[in-house]
């Protein structure tokens, strides 16, 4: 159990010292209403799902953690590992993403010190809480797949951000499809 006490200047850790958060006033993100669910027949399986399109978009970037990327404005920039995408309210690896996963596995095989955190993300049409669980299934599906390609489980971790970190906020099939993704964040 971790406990803190709050003093005059803010919440104070028992071990001494406290931090007041710096004011962070930036762009207001559009709040998405809706989910990763399944009545949109034409969503997810159609266009706009090229798994490499983000990485080929000239963005470069580090391919790091998406929440850190959201903090510093680099979210969506892929590194050596490509994203994969999913159907609406679905966590099944699609055949067209096999090559991306194999390439990701090859990279991890040839970089023995690299670890990866697989992030599951959803479009904004499901409820927030359900989408966190759905994103976790998506991350786990990729982890299981990479394990079959020989990547050791102790080099992989998973996290779900549900619909909290969308790459785009338009209410279109293409945007929803981009957001239903696994992102592979390299660490070390």
């Amino acid at each position: 159990m971790n406990r803190i006490q709050r003093g005059r200047g803010g919440w104070v850790a028992e071990m001494g010292g406290f931090t007041r958060a710096a004011g962070i006033a930036l762009v207001v993100i559009g709040l998405a209403i809706g989910g990763c669910s399944s009545k949109q027949k034409n969503a997810g399986e159609g266009t706009g799902n090229n798994p490499n399109q983000l990485g080929e978009g000239g963005l470069g970037g580090t391919g790091g953690n998406s929440l850190k990327g959201y903090q510093n404005g680099t979210m969506g920039q892929n590194g050596p590992l490509g994203d994969i995408h999913f159907g609406y309210n679905d966590a099944t690896i699609r055949p067209e993403d096999n090559d991306v996963l194999k390439a990701n596995a090859d990279y991890l095989t040839s970089h023995a010190g690299a670890r990866v955190q697989i992030e599951g993300h959803c479009d904004d049409r499901g409820s927030e809480e359900y989408n966190i669980a759905l994103g976790a299934r998506r991350a786990q599906a990729a982890k299981d797949y990479l394990a079959t390609l020989g990547i050791s489980g102790d080099r992989m971790s998973t996290i779900s951000y549900g619909k909290e970190l969308p790459l785009c906020t338009e209410e279109t099939d293409d945007c929803w499809a981009q957001n239903r993704r696994d992102h592979f964040a390299l660490s070390q």
């Binding site: 971790n2 850790a13 207001v28 809706g34 669910s37 009545k39 759905l134 976790a136 299934r137």
Partner: protein, 439 residues
């Protein structure tokens, strides 16, 4: 737990702010609240100053909060004070000491009068409710407190007015917790009185904070945060200003709810499967509550204890289920619709409010616990995350009907949307409604 892990947690916990010091002039957010159809006209007179409130600060604060709450109830509309004939400082405030004709001529069904004495930081306030057509004193309350308490005196008196006029205590001596991006672009947890007074920022970390829930006396708040870059639940003691990181070792936290006695019904994901567990307030496992289906999330606990409702996709689509906190299975409640989630148990635990996915967004429904009597409450926009008032007459929810997402108040019986409860600074979501603060 390792020392490093502990330090990381403590540093993250330090990113919480203190509230702005409040005093007698309690700030209410400016909200546009229209009187409901067929609302009863009520006059709220200034309090007679019996000494110490020469600047009328106490009277104005009491009146401002009382008028806000009575209007939000949808039972009353406030008669314009500019039309009042009587000077409350030059007339009595109890029966026989003023002229009912001054109020019946305005068309008032009810009248609130009272008095205040202020001696330093001690406020003595008496408030009285009169039935104007019957020229009768309905009830009166005496309050003693300090200047911080004047708003709460008004909230308690509003609850008493609803008790007297409708037979059921009002829901205004309560708090709302919600998530807002008003401080920037990150989702942070806030609390306020239901009427918007006493805004308090609970979290201040530039990550993601979600799903606040109060315990019975609203001394504690549970929420989910990514502030350590893992998804974890935290239980904040709001009174003692302490926070516990819930760490049962069950995987990634997905959300949770508090039981009346502050146990935690928590969703954790491991290996792609999300299940619900009952935990102690310190985060130790009491028992598994679900073990089927890939996803079990969104718990809501009966305020009387014993049962909870949740969302599971064990049937293939997200649907609402009810189960016992003693463990064992779960009975499916919803069958219509292919995406039903975010259930909320009514205070009497006989009904469940939930959101159902429809073309264009979510709509809020109420259904009986036995699966009968489903009725749609919202129609416009996308409406999510219903939360019941403790008296069962109202539901707070988030909606994008006005553009960005805000928290709104509606009547549970007919879905009449009374007013927004928040200003819409940034996007607001995830409302939780406390039990009565005064017990």
């Amino acid at each position: 737990m390792g020392v490093m892990k502990k330090i990381v947690a403590l540093v993250a916990l330090a990113l919480l702010t203190i509230p702005a010091a409040g005093f007698a002039q309690e700030a209410l957010p400016p909200l546009t609240i229209s009187a409901a159809p067929r609302a009863q006209p009520i006059a709220v007179s200034a309090l007679k100053n019996l000494g110490g409130d020469d600047d009328h600060t106490v009277s104005e604060t009491f009146g401002k909060v009382l008028k806000r709450d009575l209007t939000l109830s949808s039972f009353f509309r406030i008669l314009d004070p500019a039309s009042y004939i009587e000077d409350p400082q030059n007339s009595g405030y109890d029966i026989g000491q003023f002229n009912f004709g001054d109020w019946s001529s305005l068309g008032a069904d009810y009248l609130v009068k009272g008095s205040v004495t202020r001696d330093g930081d001690t406020i003595k306030l008496e408030a009285l409710l009169f039935d104007v057509p019957q020229q009768r004193r309905v009830m009166g309350k005496k309050f003693t407190g300090n200047p911080h308490d004047v708003g709460e005196m008004a909230r308690r008196f509003a609850d008493s007015i609803l008790q007297a006029a409708t037979g059921t205590r009002g829901p205004f001596d309560t708090k709302l917790a919600f998530v807002s991006t008003r401080g920037g672009r990150f989702k942070e947890v806030y609390t306020s009185w239901l009427d918007g007074g006493g805004l308090f920022r609970v979290t201040d970390n530039p990550t993601i904070n979600l799903f606040p829930d109060f315990d019975r006396d609203a001394s504690h708040l549970l929420y989910l945060s990514y502030k350590t870059f893992n998804a974890e639940l935290y239980l904040v003691n709001l009174e003692r200003q302490l926070e516990t990181r819930i760490n049962p070792g069950l995987g990634q936290a997905v959300g949770g709810a508090l039981t009346p006695d502050r146990q935690i019904v928590a969703a954790y994901e491991r290996g792609g499967r999300t299940n619900l567990y009952l935990l102690t307030p310190e985060g130790s496992m009491v028992r598994e509550l679900t073990d089927s289906g890939p996803i079990n999330v969104s718990p809501s606990v009966c305020p009387a204890g014993g049962q909870f409702v949740f969302t599971s996709d064990r049937s293939g689509t997200p649907q609402i289920y009810a189960a016992s906190l003693d463990g064992g299975g779960g009975k499916r409640v919803t069958f219509k619709g292919s995406y039903n989630t975010a259930p909320a148990f009514s205070p009497d635990c006989k009904q469940i409010a939930y959101e159902s996915r429809e073309p264009g967004g979510f709509q809020i429904y109420v259904i009986n616990l036995d699966g009968s009597g489903a009725r749609q409450l919202t129609q416009s926009g996308s409406n999510e995350a219903p939360a019941w008032s403790p008296d069962g007459r109202y539901i707070a929810f988030s909606s994008n009907r006005g553009g960005g997402s805000r928290i709104y108040l509606m009547r549970a019986r007919d879905g009449y949307v009374i007013a927004p409860l928040t200003e819409g600074h940034g996007n607001e979501s995830n409302p939780a409604w406390s039990w009565w603060m005064g017990g």
